[in-house]
Symmetry: C2
Subunit: 319 residues, 2 copies
């Protein structure tokens, strides 16, 4: 997918903005900087412990804006529905979209619905695009320095396991709730806590492992992660052992990776912990001069393991 | 669908902006007005005479912005693809998206791709959302006055019949090319030609008949259309007769309905005709005091026929 995006999309369509390959495009409107982002949601099943496709669609787009330092303002909503989708199902999803946008303080301003015949789409797909005003500038991979600290705002993989538990009927994991949540409130606490925030990103598809790989991609530094420091719930870990998944590649929909100056780490973690969405925050690693372009794990047993970009998708239709 | 939108979406999500139910939302950013719109494209087949889903996705969103008086600037691109979609097919579509955005002078700034398993979606669906700066203000249904003139920029129904000819293998109609085209250039000629433009809209899904019904919906005026004045190509008319369709409900993707002061009609039509995309422009009717909230056709035989809002879709997956 990364190659496809680089070659085909950026080759045929790019534009300097697209070339920057950020979670959100930074666009100029009336002399000010805004973030603009789009995401399609195809999660299956539509409802899972702790969330549903509607909550996911709002949270995901709000979070893509917020990690770019933007205050999310306006969201568009595009639905593709399969003929025969029960009205009750659609209602539940739309109500959930309404609740999540309220939670995030964004306004759904425009929408579109298309209905296709039975079998032409699996129940419902949702696209949300969002516009936010950049209020915290300069969050750039280019600002990351050797010695900076890598933090995560809570345990990883809850979203993926909650969807999987519903999809596969894994009873033992049914107490794991998706972390899907709009993070703009937490993120505004984070940027207020320190002027030393270099970069943020939400580890969605591909999880922490893939997201960190995207961050080291240009090869000017490496990232070292301490296996013991990465927060993973016991049930998520058990589910992974049972199913042969690596928690590092599990999608989150309500977590943020924060890279910041070492001296501000304590302050930032304290600020995150004050917010209910950041209670499980932890410092998980640091930026290194060695292993440039690589993410590596310092294992519990004292070894080192390279964490590669995930080839293919570990869990399809997780978002 | 209109009821569903009113009750469910506006009820659960609205938002004063959503309540306005325009083709594009008008949003305020940094003290200026911008238009923001979203559309999903599910057309089948993906390629048809004169266009493809990619060209459609760019043109449709550009046109939704332009009819609101906005200069289209930035477009987002969300793709949902079925596993096994040939790379060549995707390439052709992306190249077409690139060409159409160049034609329209807009930049694709952000994107997202999702792949679902075989059978979970029919080949590819595209969402485009767009942002434009409102440069021509005050295009409002509320500005329409009795006696105003209704124009259309060219023959109707070419898009629908081109898709249908490909879908159903109608050889005799295969010389009909879709009208799918970005209209922002033509529209900027139109607004320059007259200060008396009241309102514009592109007659896409549901065609001229449905779009005019949306315009009269609030009940303060009626619209009278002269059957003889409505431009329809001979082949399109024949296809309709054969298949039992009414040309008034056929989707266009490169036509604009313009409502303007009567005294400016000649000037506007002349301006449109100067542009290759408006060569087939015509005055087709006027705004009336009678039949408030209704669209009626003065037939060739001198009778009157009420043109209702289309119940259901005449042609599914036409855009």
């Amino acid at each position: 997918m990364h190659e496809l995006i680089d070659e085909l999309f950026i080759g045929s369509l790019g534009g300097k903005t697209l070339k920057e390959k950020k979670d959100s495009a930074v666009i100029r409107l009336g002399g000010e900087s805004y973030a603009f982002t789009t995401d399609s949601y195809v999660v299956s099943p539509l409802f899972f412990p702790g969330g549903d496709i509607g909550r996911l669609a709002v949270s995901g787009t709000v979070n893509d804006l917020a990690v770019c330092g933007a205050k999310p303002l306006y969201i568009s909503l595009g639905l593709v529905m399969e003929e025969g989708l029960p009205k009750k199902t659609l209602e539940k999803i739309v109500v959930s979209i309404g609740a999540a946008s309220k939670e995030a303080g964004v306004e759904i301003v425009t929408g579109d619905t298309k209905v296709v015949e039975r079998g032409a789409c699996d129940k419902i797909f949702i696209n949300t695009s969002g516009i936010g005003k950049i209020v915290y500038k300069g969050l750039e991979i280019g600002r990351i320095k050797h010695g900076d600290v890598v933090m995560v705002s809570g345990p990883i993989g809850d979203h993926a396991i909650s969807v999987l538990s519903k999809r596969e009927g894994l009873g033992f994991a049914s107490n794991i709730k998706s972390d899907a949540v709009p993070l703009n409130g937490l993120i505004s606490r984070i940027v207020k806590a320190s002027a030393g925030i270099r970069f943020m990103r939400d580890p969605t598809r591909g999880g922490l492992g893939t997201t960190l790989n995207e961050i080291v991609r240009d090869g000017s530094f490496g990232i070292a992660i301490d296996e013991e420091a990465v927060p993973v719930r016991g049930t998520v870990r058990s589910a992974c052992e049972l199913l042969g998944y690596d928690p590092l590649y599990l999608a989150c929909e309500g977590r943020v990776i924060v890279i910041a100056a070492r001296e501000d780490a304590g302050r930032i973690v304290r600020a995150m912990k004050k917010d209910s969405l950041g209670r499980g925050s932890a410092v998980i690693g640091c930026i290194t001069k060695e292993h440039k372009g690589r993410v590596y794990l310092r294992t519990k047993s004292g070894g080192k393991r390279i964490i590669d970009m995930l080839a293919g998708e570990q869990l399809p239709r997780i978002c």
